[in-house]
Symmetry: C2
Subunit: 206 residues, 2 copies
């Protein structure tokens, strides 16, 4: 009934444009977008222009590493260029985000291969659309000691792991995947059944 009022109100508000830009970001609803917009108004003009130019320059300068397909500012990423990395251990992930999460643990010193997604026929993502041919090419060129599949345990993740296992079995390489179990500090009472089941199945002898 009152629908005609909404857009009018929207254009009338002096921060409507900025609010609608913030609302495009993931996890940002109307309320948060408004709070962020008001925060921008409270920042100095120079801070806002630094933020604004960082957005544009980062977006423009980022490319995919020609070797591992993670994100990079140069043709090859800083991990592939790092001479101290263990070139015999390859960690296979779906997205560049996962590289950053694993790097933060500081417990993997090997190199990465980013698939650029997961197999999902329902969403029209087939194996040939991922960086799987490039992975096979890397395996043919270099004999790795270990491949670590660091892939989420979802329907798409499990399908991708199964597909990778089938095409990787022709290579002489040990393949591992991440352990499932209770998160650190978690309470057994509050763990979901599947997690608890995985924690039991993967129990470690003391």
């Amino acid at each position: 009934m009152d629908l005609s009022l909404e857009p009018k109100n929207e254009t009338d508000s002096p921060i409507a444009g900025l609010v609608s830009q913030f609302k495009k970001l993931p996890g940002v609803g109307e309320k948060s977008a408004q709070r962020l917009a008001f925060f921008i108004l409270s920042m100095s003009e120079s801070d806002v222009s630094t933020f604004s130019s960082e957005l544009v320059t980062t977006r423009r300068s980022i490319q995919y590493c020609s070797h591992c397909f993670s994100i990079s500012r140069q043709e090859q990423c800083h991990i592939c260029l790092d001479p101290s990395r263990d070139l015999d251990r390859l960690c296979i992930v779906s997205d560049p985000q996962d590289v950053f999460s694993i790097e933060k643990t500081k417990s993997f010193r090997g190199v990465y291969h980013v698939l650029g997604g997961l197999i999902s026929p329902l969403d029209g993502v087939h194996p040939e659309m991922l960086r799987i041919p490039e992975l096979v090419a890397r395996l043919k060129k270099h004999s790795y000691k270990e491949l670590i599949l660091a892939i989420n345990s979802t329907v798409e993740g499990d399908a991708t792991v199964m597909y990778l296992q089938s095409i990787l079995k022709s290579f002489e390489v040990s393949i591992s995947k991440l352990a499932h179990g209770l998160p650190m500090g978690a309470d057994i009472d509050y763990a979901d059944e599947l997690t608890l089941q995985k924690a039991l199945e993967g129990r470690i002898l003391l």
Copy 2:
């Protein structure tokens, strides 16, 4: 021990600059900042540049309305310029955000006065630093039928309301404040004691 690694890692990451910009926003921690930065990479270059320029132009073009001190793109805000508003009802709020929240309810058609903060001697905010002289000047110029104090019920808010009551009593105007009680849809079992007490005190005869 390992502290020296952190900054090195930060500069190595191709999105570190953007992540640190996002971390300055309220409610955005390391993880969310990273997620937002990766989202920016997934946007088209033109969308990012629209976002970026909206930030700068909004920050630059916003000023305070000369009349009510809410935010505005012109010298006077769209509410003060709207001829359909009831000029006899004045809603007094602490911040421009509150104007937007009340406008969303579509149940107030009067005009506003934004104090620009709340009295807080501990934070060095004294009455003369708020737009209270301007409020008194408005009251002297125009005889309002009602003043609505839409001010948070915090220590600072209550102090401001008390101060306003003391200086407003010389004017012939009815003063009201927002009702306290159970939020809509709330469960009595889960309400905090103070809210339930206010709901009881403010009970409405049927």
